[in-house]
């Protein structure tokens, strides 16, 4: 199965551990990742609050590139996936803006049709590959672990647009974790926000919002928090020390990308999964897995 691989700015810039874990697991499941040459930012963080046309142009441009490759486009970040989905929906209903964007795309010789299939990480693992394929690939089941899934707002909302999972009771990420042999818990606040897009305006509040969830899952005695979204991971993992100082309570708690757990269950070496880049205390979990 071939896909146009669109990791997005955040993954390529500083979540390279996630990119490594994706590039070292998906091929083993028969997914060939073909980079989208010439891709650019999806436009959501910079332009959604600044200029609508620039936002939709940015997303349309990347979809046009994928359309040219004739492949469905695999998107790692929740924000990019929502941005592409919203652009497809908006341009389909707003010919005036679409015309203006087509005109700008022609400068780079691109044309946007709007029929590219957008694949979210949940879609890829849960629908396209499915339970059997993943279970076959698992050679070292993560038995004895209980994780908390964090699907991320833009993966499940708004339900007016078709989103990869249900908006109020999402279960796909839970099931993906269960297929690796581990257990999950439907903890309160599972569908809550990590607060990351508040960073430009109030970093302190981001810490408080993220801190609440970390304290919750830590108090419930879970073994780790699992997500597929670089924005959420960046707050929960990379900023754990900053959260601790702001919130004042111990929030040290292991945070993983799903593809990292998948890799461990497929006995891929941790170095190939970028696990050394996780700032949260993942070593205890790795030790228990007998990380070879």
């Amino acid at each position: 199965m071939k896909v146009a691989f669109y990791p997005g700015c955040t993954v390529q810039a500083d979540q390279i551990g996630y990119e490594a874990s994706v590039r070292n697991t998906m091929p083993k499941l028969g997914v060939e990742l073909i980079d989208v040459e010439g891709a650019s930012c999806c436009g959501y963080p910079p332009f959604s609050s600044v200029n609508e046309a620039a936002w939709y142009y940015s997303s349309a441009r990347n979809m046009a590139l994928a359309e040219r490759m004739g492949l469905p486009i695999l998107i790692l970040c929740n924000g990019c996936h929502l941005s592409f989905t919203e652009t497809k929906h908006f341009l389909a209903n707003n010919p005036i803006i679409k015309a203006k964007i087509d005109e700008k795309l022609s400068i780079e010789g691109l044309t946007y049709v709007g029929d590219v299939e957008l694949i979210h990480v949940f879609d890829l693992f849960h629908n396209k590959l499915g339970e059997e394929k993943i279970k076959q690939a698992v050679t070292k089941p993560l038995t004895g672990f209980k994780f908390g899934a964090h699907p991320g707002c833009h993966a499940i909302r708004p339900n007016k647009l078709i989103r990869p999972d249900d908006s109020e009771n999402p279960i796909k990420l839970d099931e993906l974790i269960q297929w690796l042999g581990a257990e999950t818990m439907d903890y309160p606040g599972k569908i809550d926000c990590c607060g990351s897009s508040l960073a430009p305006a109030s970093g302190k509040t981001v810490m408080e919002i993220a801190g609440d969830k970390l304290r919750m899952v830590k108090a419930l005695g879970l073994d780790g928090l699992v997500t597929t979204c670089p924005f959420c991971f960046k707050v929960y993992d990379n900023r754990q020390r900053a959260i601790q100082s702001t919130v004042g309570a111990s929030v040290e708690f292991p945070v993983f990308y799903y593809t990292q757990l998948l890799g461990l269950a497929m006995e891929v070496k941790p170095d190939f999964l970028g696990l050394d880049l996780n700032q949260s205390p993942v070593d205890s979990v790795l030790a228990r897995i007998g990380g070879s």
Binding site: G17, P46, S49, V50, A54, H89, I96, I101, E108
Partner: protein, 169 residues
């Protein structure tokens, strides 16, 4: 009557912000309090309350909102858009207010200007920098065996297209 949930094209030509916002269903708000009740920010930042933002928009006070910094502290979690019984989206209204505020050069977080500048110049928000492992070692894309990042082939044409839109819209 299903109303288009993201703002209609008229944001560009008419610049009549109040009408645009009203067409986004703000006028039928019952002030029921559902949007602030699950909003992660409303319970943490005094003064940020999506219900009151809609109330101010309904009574023609969008100007006051554009000048106040309150519209910049929404974390776009989309819970309000998801659950509003009248199918109003405070989130989309806040985005429209932000765009108008930028258009009128009102005060807003500098990070947005930096992001816009970076994307125009490099095609992405941030350039790849070396990252530190838990044991403080430095790593980068190359040391992880990752290919170079994706960015526009012809940066000037890409920038020309983007800047054109930013001026005309």
């Amino acid at each position: 009557m299903h109303v288009e949930d993201s703002p209609v094209a008229s944001t560009f030509d008419e610049h009549r912000l109040h009408d645009t916002l009203m067409k986004m269903n703000a006028e039928v708000c019952d002030q029921c309090g559902k949007c602030p009740s699950a909003c992660p920010v409303a319970s943490r930042i005094d003064g940020f309350n999506p219900r009151q933002i809609i109330a101010k928009v309904c009574s023609g006070k969008e100007g006051e909102l554009i000048r106040s910094g309150v519209i910049w502290t929404c974390t776009s979690c989309l819970k309000c858009k998801e659950r509003c019984p009248e199918e109003i989206s405070p989130y989309d209204i806040i985005l429209a207010l932000r765009r108008q505020s930028i258009r009128e050069g009102q005060q807003h977080p500098a990070a947005y200007d930096d992001m816009v500048k970076a994307v125009i110049e490099t095609g992405v928000i941030t350039q790849p920098q070396p990252v530190r492992t838990r044991k403080r070692e430095r790593k980068d894309r190359a040391s992880l065996g990752l290919p170079p990042t994706q960015k526009p082939k012809d940066q000037t044409k890409y920038a020309e297209a983007l800047q054109g839109l930013l001026k005309e819209a």
